[in-house]
Amino acid sequence: MIDLNIVVSGAAGQGIQTIGYVLAKTASGAGYNVFAWQEYESRVRGGCNSYRIRVSDIPANSPLIQADILVALNAESKRKYRPLLKAEGVLIDEQETGERVITVPFEQIAMEDFGKKLFANTVAAGALAAVLGLELEALTEVIADEFAGKSDEIVDTNRAAAAAGYSRAKRSCEGVCAWTLPRRAQTHYLITGNEALALGAAAAGCRFIAAYPMTPSTGIITFLSKHKERLQIFTEQAEDEIAAINMAIGASYAGVRAMTATSGGGFSLMTEGISLAGMTETPVVIVLGQRPAPATGLPTRTEQADLLFAVNAGHGEFPRLVFAPADPKDAFHKITRAFNLAEKYQIPAIVLSDQFLADSNSTVADFELETLRHETYTAATAEMVDYRRYLLTETGISPRLFPGQSQQLVCCDSDEHDEYGHITEDLTLRKRMVEKRLRKLEGLRDEIQPPEDYRVREAEDVLVSWGSSRNAVLEAVDRLNEQGNAVGMLHFTELWPLPRFTFPDEQQQYHLVESNATAQFGRMLRSEYGLSVTSKIARYDGLPLDYEYIMEVWQHG
């Protein structure tokens, strides 16, 4: 079995992301499952960052912590990450020599052989490919791909720099590095959560995104802007998050599927807009990429502490949808569901991502494009006599038309309104309107998918988790079972309204796994299902949940 973990470390601005991504793509291109995540500081230059790549021949989209190979681009990061290196691991370093050290002077080779320090990253990528036992050709193909559009000279120099790093490292590898990664027939997508969310939104027919840049969600509007002509999607950088969500609501009112994306701070500014979407019954999709808070918190790291905020965001009472995808593949399909359900029920839908999901590259064997459905829920204009945007109905769903679509007038108000959309102070009508809006929740609840059940039937203990921790929890469950425990997993990705679901067995012990300090999902489970958990595995240091952490807390508390 192949299951390797590589840590590429250095300061911000040194290009560890380039080295890491090129390597990840090369291993993915060679047919391996690759999972790559980054932890980095909120700065443009300096500091200590790492790009972690897991290469395996089994599907495993979750982090490993102990490293087989460490690439250190500066002394500070070498000090910080060396403790992660296994005893039999290998260090790739510019100067240090030693028994399990591959010495490759990246900068010196770049300067002396290629005239520019700039090529040091490519030399390093070459060295890393050699240590891993990848074919040089597999790497140079990816380099040519990544530098496509640049001049032939740049592409050729980068190829040569990769080859130089590769051959230098190869010489030192004999007897030290036992790994080989020959090409396999499998092909995969290597894709981040942000990219999957953006493509999923486009596949769902989203034609409008307005957003204010905020880590870790900026990648969504960036991707859509890059491909806007192809996707016929209008993208606008708003002056603030308030403008962003109001623009999305305006676009949706006017007739297109629309979204915005932000993080906790921006989402705080959007809450009044979410309430507006609730009152005016305007579908809108909001991606909330969580990061550690309160306030600015740790801007580039991860957490799942905005769950109750998302479930309760906005003043007043109105139905909304909250989803939290498990990984990029799930993110792609989940956001299309969010668009469809938001439109069907005319509600705001919040997709909870986090820095870990947003930035991490996962292996996806295939997306199920054939399952994509083009759902439309607008009323047929011909049927409308005496059109009322807020007609009181049994389901709570009123006929939705767009301004300028027909001679029917479409009137929406943030004030309490009558069926036509005009301000009202008729308090009997107010009560009926509240009930009409909340009635939509009943139909919506029937659409919500139950949690993923993994090995629960034979389990004595069940880990209950949600969102982006799924693959780490899954791996922990497998390993705990290998150690003779009877453990299962119930993993939720559709969080509000919570699905109609009965916890299977009162004899089982439930253990909560989530990335926050106050067991937010645990509180939801208690209030919605009356479930009390036996213990909590919580992480709130800004790093993602991984199976080692989960097992450590499980075993030692």
């Binding site: 090369t26 993915s28 291109g29 193909e141 040519a144 791909d145 496509a148 092909t187 997508y189 290597l190 894709i191 990219e195 493509l199 486009a202 596949a203 769902a204 027919g205 034609r207 409008f208 192809r230 996707l231 016929q232 999607i233 209008f234 002056e239 308030i242 403008a243 109001n246 623009m247 999305a248 609501i249 305006g250 676009a251 009112y253 006017a254 007739g255 297109v256 599927r257 629309a258 807009g273 507006l276 005016t280 996806v364 494009l369 994509l372 083009h374 767009f402 301004p403 300028g404 001679q407 029917q408 007038l409 479409v410 009137c411 929406c412 108000d413 943030s414 004030d415 959309g421 301000i423």
Partner: protein
Amino acid sequence: MVELDDYQSDAENQWCPGCSNFGILKAMKNALVALDKRPDEICLVSGIGQAAKLPHYLRCNFFNGLHGRALPIATAISVVSPHVTTIVVTGDGDCYGEGGNHFVHTFRRNPDLTLIVHNNQIYGLTKGQASPTTDAGEKTRLQFEGVKIRPLQPLALAILHDCPFVARGFAGDLKHLTELFVAAIQFRGLSYVDVIQPCITWGTHPISWYRDRIYHLPPGYNPHDKDTALKKATEWGERIPIGIFYRTEEPPHLFGEYFRASIYDGALTALKYPSRRAIAELLGQFKTAKQRGELERAGRGEV
């Protein structure tokens, strides 16, 4: 032909009897009739305040949203529905205070819409507090010792940022105001009209104070001269000019390039969704070029 009656709304009017907002409502109806626009071709967008209630009193499409947030809503509507005439009706508190950030950035965007600000220099709906345009020194129901901060200069701000159509009207001059509205609505791009609208209940100045000072920009006035426009826009106190202060012929920066054809046309429904093939091709970038090539060859039956 469109008639005034087509715009008659059944909603009960909540403004104070005798409010100068009625003059603005009348001018707006007159302008829409003069332009022969049907109610379904119009979309009024407003925020919160007395002015923002206007959409309820003029039969047409409307979105009466949040306090201060009419402009982002309207910007999106103008982009997505270029065939609909989008008009924002707002007040000095709504637009210059709560929505100040959007006000400034909308000049930069120059969307194809008309912005009409009922400027009564006071908060009406919350009963008499200072607004961003209340004159310094004026006593209000909250600023008991007089307003100590300087008023905003919204027209100058607009001209400075090259808002392509900047005008001021007076709610008490119906004929002139109707002409301004006609010109503003016909204008392609952002047209902004600040309307002096004396508040008969909380206002710091009586209507006569305005009548004594207001004058029309002279016939020879050149609205294409930015320096003169800035100077005129800051004239306030002894004399108050009204008319079109500034005009450029700059086309809108934001428009619905993807939405120009009616999105409701059945034949164009497919446009609402990218093809599965487009998505599959975009996904292709997440494989290596070699794998993409193999996939494409397989797709063509070559492998």
